[in-house]
């Protein structure tokens, strides 16, 4: 089963990355893994080799940090994996656009809504916002905001 395969590969590559199981299925995946900022390319290469596809890249804005959430999936039942990555407000994560071509647009979207720059992605133009937009709408210091928390408030 692809899910067991990729679990073995990732545990081998990232021995001290916390892997949390999800019995309830709330997060849509059986387990999720948290990698360091520099580890996303290794993880993406492992998923690419195993034949997974990149479902979505999104980001969460907390007071103390950003968190990037990658969802990978395979064409078998219940094969979704969540890869989480903490990224400081001024840090620059690496792009995976040469591993997954679909990541070019996904990273452009994260960049324009959060201001996170991806090193290695040559195309950082605005995707959904007007070309001359200089604001990042989904930041919690823009527009109407109902709450701005630190990460531990939600995830403990």
């Amino acid at each position: 089963m692809k899910l067991k395969e990729i679990e073995k590969v990732l545990v081998e590559k990232f021995p001290d990355a916390p892997l949390s199981r999800d019995e309830t299925g709330m997060s849509g995946a059986q387990w999720s893994i948290a990698v360091a900022l520099s580890g996303i390319r290794e993880a993406a290469k492992a998923f690419d080799k195993a034949g997974f596809f990149l479902e979505s890249i999104t980001a969460l804005d907390f007071e103390d940090t950003f968190e990037l959430v990658y969802h990978f999936n395979y064409y078998e039942p219940k094969s979704r994996v969540v890869v989480r990555m903490l990224c400081g407000h001024d840090e620059v994560p690496q792009s995976i656009c040469d591993i997954y071509r679909g990541a070019v647009w996904l990273e452009r979207e994260v960049h324009e809504f959060f201001g996170i720059k991806f090193s290695g992605n040559a195309d950082m133009r605005m995707l959904l916002l007007p070309e001359d937009a200089d604001y990042h709408p989904l930041r919690k210091n823009f527009g109407k905001v109902s709450a701005y928390h630190k990460r531990e408030v939600i995830y403990g």
């Binding site: 969802h71 007007p130 905001v145 109902s146």
Partner: protein, 373 residues
């Protein structure tokens, strides 16, 4: 001599703007084409002309107030997106849905899927130049809209699915109208076959046009009928069954090559399978409550995330919501299938002719406001 060189250089590649206002761009899409004569050298889709800020709106309001937004993203599968949102919140809060409500929601979603595919069918053939199937398809679609209108009050953008069930029960009139519709469609498939599927011009314009193979699908995250057309049998209703799909017997049609004709075939067969699902669901429809008994007015969800995937008419869609314990989400992200489907055009369009580009764009069935959110 220098002048000759300049004109030869500059006349090689010509930039053409396709859209954002164009009769066949399914919403407001703009593609910057670099053309060499009639052939496309580079295609760069520019989107964002329908960006309305759904994700920011989701963060600023309680879950119940996001219900109208859920239908208006992909307005052709509005009921399915509405259904998916309600499933996500129910999973987060832990609301049990009665059996009757599950069946009603499945029937409504499948009717919506048929109406979305019918509209795609009508407009696709119209893009290729055949105006008549558009009128036939819309006629059938009006029957579905009448059925859904009678029970939900709205023709296009529904807020019919609510937390815990649906907002109104279906009566015998709904069931009679649905059964009459299913009976009517049995003869219509043959009509559409004769009008379109066996039409030699249609076949020439769609066979071997816009081949999206399995590797390209995987690179761009293409899902839905576009993925199934290249032979991968991946449907969220089978891989992560929700509601009562595991009790219903239906096939997941696949193609082989991944060209536009295969995509057309897959969607056509999907409509017939949806009719089969509705038939079985109507047979199995139990009595009982149509909404859960105790649904709190002000939801107090636990902290954490929830990710619910469902199969919309265009592919795998999902709601990813992060809750901080308050009555509204902290982050509300929607994964839309048309994002990846359109993204794949970056690699599919170069090398094709402009007329084929229209055929390819129509066959992948994108809805731009869904991408723009």
């Amino acid at each position: 001599m220098a002048e000759q060189d300049i004109t030869q250089e500059t006349s090689r590649v010509y930039s053409l703007n396709l859209g954002p206002q164009h009769p066949s761009t399914h919403g407001v899409l703009r593609i910057l084409l670099d053309l060499d004569g009639e052939y496309i050298v580079k295609a760069d889709p520019v989107i964002g002309y329908g960006h309305r800020g759904h994700e920011k709106m989701g963060e600023n309001r309680p879950y119940k107030q996001f219900l109208p937004n859920s239908s208006r993203m992909d307005y052709l599968s509005g009921m399915i997106f509405n259904h998916g949102f309600v499933l996500a919140v129910e999973k987060l809060v832990g609301i049990e849905v009665p059996e009757r409500a599950k069946y009603i929601r499945v029937i409504a979603s499948e009717l919506n899927r048929i109406s979305s595919h019918l509209l795609w069918f009508g407009t696709y053939v119209m893009d290729l130049g055949g105006f008549t199937p558009f009128l036939y398809a819309f006629d059938d679609r009006e029957q579905i809209l009448d059925i859904l209108d009678s029970v939900s009050g709205s023709r296009l953008t529904y807020s019919y699915c609510r937390f815990g069930g649906v907002c109104r029960d279906v009566d015998s009139r709904f069931i009679d109208m649905t059964r009459a519709f299913l009976k009517r469609m049995e003869t219509r498939w043959a009509d559409y076959d004769n009008l379109v599927t066996k039409n030699i011009i249609f076949i020439h314009r769609t066979r071997d046009v816009g081949i999206i193979d399995r590797e390209l699908c995987r690179q761009y995250g293409v899902t839905g009928p576009n993925l199934r057309a290249c032979g991968v049998s991946f449907d969220v209703r089978r891989s992560e069954p929700y509601e009562v799909y595991d009790r219903l017997d239906f096939e997941v049609p696949t193609g082989s090559k991944g060209d536009a004709l295969d995509r057309y075939d897959v969607r056509f067969k999907e409509m017939q399978q949806s009719c089969r699902i509705i038939d079985q669901a109507l047979d199995q429809l139990p009595g009982g409550a149509f909404v859960a008994e105790k649904v709190p007015q002000k939801l107090k969800p636990p902290k954490g995330d929830v990710y619910t995937a469902f199969e919309s008419a265009r592919g795998l869609s999902a709601y990813y919501m992060v809750s901080d314990g308050s009555p509204g989400p902290y982050r509300c992200h929607i994964r839309v299938p048309s994002f990846g489907n359109l993204n794949a055009l970056n690699d599919v369009l170069p090398g094709t002719m402009v007329a084929d580009a229209i055929s390819i764009l129509g066959s992948i069935d994108v809805v731009i406001p869904e991408i723009d959110r």
